[in-house]
Symmetry: C2
């Protein structure tokens, strides 16, 4: 049970977990997310199947096994705890933590992560508002109301962003939108699915469809 996995294996497992949330998971999408080629993904799928982390056969769909899901949640736990540490203690910016956590998440000591968790006072969400699985791999389910689907004229709080893309985070920083920011939808434009919002007290912004789909509010 104390099996160790390689950095590559862990990155694949985590990506599979994230991508299959969003429905179907193709070899192409998987390799795309990992900056590899489809042929490489196929190689890895064979190995992950061998290790009973996924179920898959040539041309058939990819599913995490219970074992694979458990591993994925553990990696996500490490990733998000390190992100929280980087943001909260070392004062890194929103858009800088992800890349560093991508490396730190592979340091494997269980004791390290549990002590880090305690040191940070068991945070519930990472700096992007994403929930942090606990030591048993339980992850609180989060409502996924996108700003794109939100009702008009109702004050909403930004609780998460749907992507960690640096370009998105930069843009949000420019607009001064972060976790906790209050937003109200004023008007929808069917032409391009853009919307006009009120941010904070007095500022009015015009947000593209891409942005409204990336903001998760409550």
């Amino acid at each position: 049970m104390l099996t160790k996995y390689s950095v590559a294996e862990e990155n694949y497992i985590k990506s599979i977990f994230h991508l299959q949330e969003g429905g179907a998971l193709s070899t192409g999408a998987l390799s795309g997310a990992l900056n590899t080629k489809p042929a490489s993904a196929t190689d890895m799928l064979k190995k992950l199947k061998e290790k009973k982390l996924i179920s898959w056969s040539p041309y058939k769909s990819i599913q995490l096994t219970a074992k694979g899901k458990k591993l994925a949640l553990d990696i996500i736990r490490r990733h998000r705890l390190w992100e929280f540490f980087l943001s909260e203690k070392l004062h890194f910016e929103w858009d800088e933590v992800h890349a560093i956590a991508e490396e730190l998440e592979h340091v494997s000591s269980k004791k390290l992560i549990d002590k880090l968790d305690a040191y940070l006072h068991f945070p519930q969400v990472d700096p992007h508002g994403d929930p942090i699985p606990d030591a048993q791999g339980k992850m609180p389910h989060q409502e996924q109301l996108r700003l794109a689907q939100a009702p008009l004229n109702k004050p909403l709080r930004v609780v998460a962003v749907a992507s960690q893309e640096i370009k998105l985070l930069e843009l949000l920083k420019h607009f001064d939108i972060k976790l906790g920011t209050m937003i109200e939808v004023i008007k929808r434009f069917d032409f391009d699915e853009s919307i006009e919002v009120k941010v904070g007290k007095n500022k009015t912004l015009h947000l593209s469809e891409a942005i409204t789909k990336s903001l998760i509010v409550k």
Copy 2:
């Protein structure tokens, strides 16, 4: 200049640095320290030479270049800062920090290490009493008086241990000897180079040659 090195390369460079402190450096000693075989060390020496981190030719001696030494000091900086963090903030024991830092030291972000340094208030020594190189790679030179060579009847402070071997650290923990512990040499026994010491106020211990050579005092 933003060259990235592999985990294996970094481990070799660090070991070469440490081992050549203690005089001559053989391929066998190097591979021994890294738990590999001499043939593997030779392979790596070729690569490190190629990258101008060491000077070496078949059967000739191994020397770090200026570039190699700089890299070594940078890795040692990362290693010792993480050790300090693990000990000071996460309350790991003396003998647990080394193995984890061995992994953390390879996370490459310069900004991460400098922010960590600041967060820890620029510590001067790691939990084993070893000096931490600064951001420019300067490492304060440390007096290396071994308890084995120390004068009789003089109160001495333990400032470092010469090895991170778990077995040694366990033994020291058993004797309740740590950094800062005051020790006084009472008597030497030529028979086996062992010594009798007074530790703290009232306790008297008999220490083997292996231990007296591993304790650095001031």
